[in-house]
């Protein structure tokens, strides 16, 4: 292995990184300065521009990629998709935590509490724990292919669980109270909508950039394992030759 393959960066990721930064700067300008404060929520509405895209990226994009990658791995047995599924789940958990934290920070000034038993809040918290379980399985100490196969089964089931949990919690809450707040009902200013859009693009780019890097780390780890075995075999051979 030469030095060039030892990093996790490449020309593509460098360019993607700069693009992400550029979009990030424009996004921050729109989200923080150009878009107006909302009438009832004032400036706290700006948290929405990162909160909602983070939720979409983690729940649908990242965990969706995990489920699809897991399915392709079980079907074709390709290590590539196994590592993609793993990388995507890890970043999804990160975005999910970010969604929860920004949601609570938004809830405190708007609802007066950090946590309400809102359907989305509750189901996102359960989803977060579901995928922490997936990551725990990925860390199990067992032969790599057995672990990958089990993780793939779990990745698909966990994504189905996300859907079941979301519907069941929504149904559970609907027995108690109406929807706490429906963003679709709010009249939205064009620059606000554009900020949302930029936020979604920005966070998808961050996701893609992190995904490629995290994938390479996973790939290098597997290379290191096999390189370690090769080195050990070489050593034994050298001993035998003496």
């Amino acid at each position: 292995m030469n030095d060039a393959t030892l990093g996790t960066a490449s020309k593509v990721t460098t360019r993607l990184g700069f693009l992400t930064l550029a979009v990030g700067v424009v996004f921050l300008a729109y989200a923080l300065f150009i878009s107006p404060p909302e009438i009832s929520q004032a400036d706290s509405v700006r948290l929405f521009y990162i909160h909602v895209p983070a939720a979409i990226v983690s729940l649908y994009l990242a965990f969706g990629v995990t489920a699809v990658g897991s399915a392709i791995y079980l079907w074709k047995g390709s290590q590539f998709w196994d590592l993609v599924a793993w990388a995507s789940a890890e970043i999804g958990v990160l975005f999910c935590a970010f969604t929860l934290v920004t949601g609570m920070l938004w809830g405190r000034p708007t609802w007066g509490v950090y946590w309400t038993w809102d359907a989305r809040l509750t189901s996102t918290a359960i989803t977060f724990i579901l995928f922490l379980g997936y990551l725990a399985v990925r860390r199990l100490d067992m032969p790599a292919d057995v672990r990958s196969r089990r993780a793939a089964v779990l990745g698909i089931i966990s994504f189905l669980n996300v859907i079941i949990v979301r519907y069941s919690v929504a149904w559970w809450r609907s027995l108690h109270q109406g929807a706490t707040l429906n963003p679709a009902d709010i009249q939205i200013d064009d620059s606000m909508l554009f900020s949302f859009f930029l936020g979604a693009v920005f966070e998808s780019l961050v996701f893609a950039w992190l995904l490629i890097h995290r994938f390479r780390i996973g790939w290098l780890e597997t290379q290191l394992e096999s390189a370690g075995i090769d080195a050990a075999i070489e050593e034994r051979r050298a001993e035998g030759a003496q």
């Binding site: 922490l132 067992m142 949990v165 919690v169």
Partner: protein, 230 residues
């Protein structure tokens, strides 16, 4: 598949019959959880606006199912602990037993043990929490649907963590969030079986049954993948 399932279920139940882990360990554990809930909620607290109803009685269905879930975690652990020594799962596979049969058999054995546990804990809950029963048929339906859901889910996740030193901590982490919809449904349906109206409970019991079927199907399909080369 069904024949294999029966063999496995009978084997697990025979092991339980001779070891009596369920009756001597899991059942007392369930009871102490129920008693601790009484400490946590406080039996003297009354529902706001109605001095005749105690909070403990109102929330009894949820507490009962949480106690069952905790006890079930021990049952799952036990179900795979008996397979963890001497490469027992590999031996079962080598003996030509269908993996789907292993899944159904182990789930069925857990199901039967949990039903016994639930009946006994149910009596405990009626006594301790002063619960009255309105609709026994709905209650039986809920108990069966929920128990199938719990057994299928626990057996599936138990296999995921099988052969692992981390099994005892991993299975609860995987099972509890996955079963959260079942807990919601079972609690709601049990509430309506105890305090009415029963018309609210039947569709919910149906949803729990759908979940149970889904997980049973998932287990039948994926168990071979989970057991290979362990």
């Amino acid at each position: 598949m069904i024949r294999d399932a029966r063999l496995i279920a009978m084997k697990d139940l025979r092991i339980e019959k001779s070891s009596r882990v369920l009756t001597t360990q899991v059942l007392p554990f369930g009871f102490i959880v129920l008693i601790l809930f009484g400490f946590g909620v406080s039996p003297d607290r009354r529902v706001v606006g109605d001095a005749n109803r105690s909070v403990l009685t109102e929330v009894a269905p949820g507490l009962f199912w949480i106690a069952v879930l905790f006890a079930a975690l021990l049952a799952f652990g036990r179900s795979f602990a008996v397979e963890s020594t001497d490469g027992s799962l590999d031996a079962l596979r080598l003996a030509g037993i269908d993996p789907a049969g292993i899944f159904l058999g182990k789930a069925a054995a857990v199901f039967l043990q949990l039903i016994i546990l639930e009946v006994l804990l149910g009596v405990g809950a009626v006594v301790l929490f002063n619960v009255q029963l309105a609709a026994p048929l709905l209650l039986i339906a809920v108990v069966i649907a929920t128990t199938v859901a719990i057994s299928a889910t626990g057996t599936l996740y138990g296999a995921l963590a099988a052969g692992q030193s981390a099994r005892d901590t991993l299975v609860p982490l995987l099972v509890l969030p996955a079963l959260s919809p079942v807990l919601l449904g079972a609690t709601r349906a049990t509430e309506s079986a105890l305090y009415g109206p029963t018309s609210d409970g039947w569709p919910v019991a149906g949803l729990v049954a759908a979940f149970a079927l889904l997980y049973t199907a998932a287990g039948i399909v994926s168990f071979g993948l989970l057991l290979d080369e362990t």
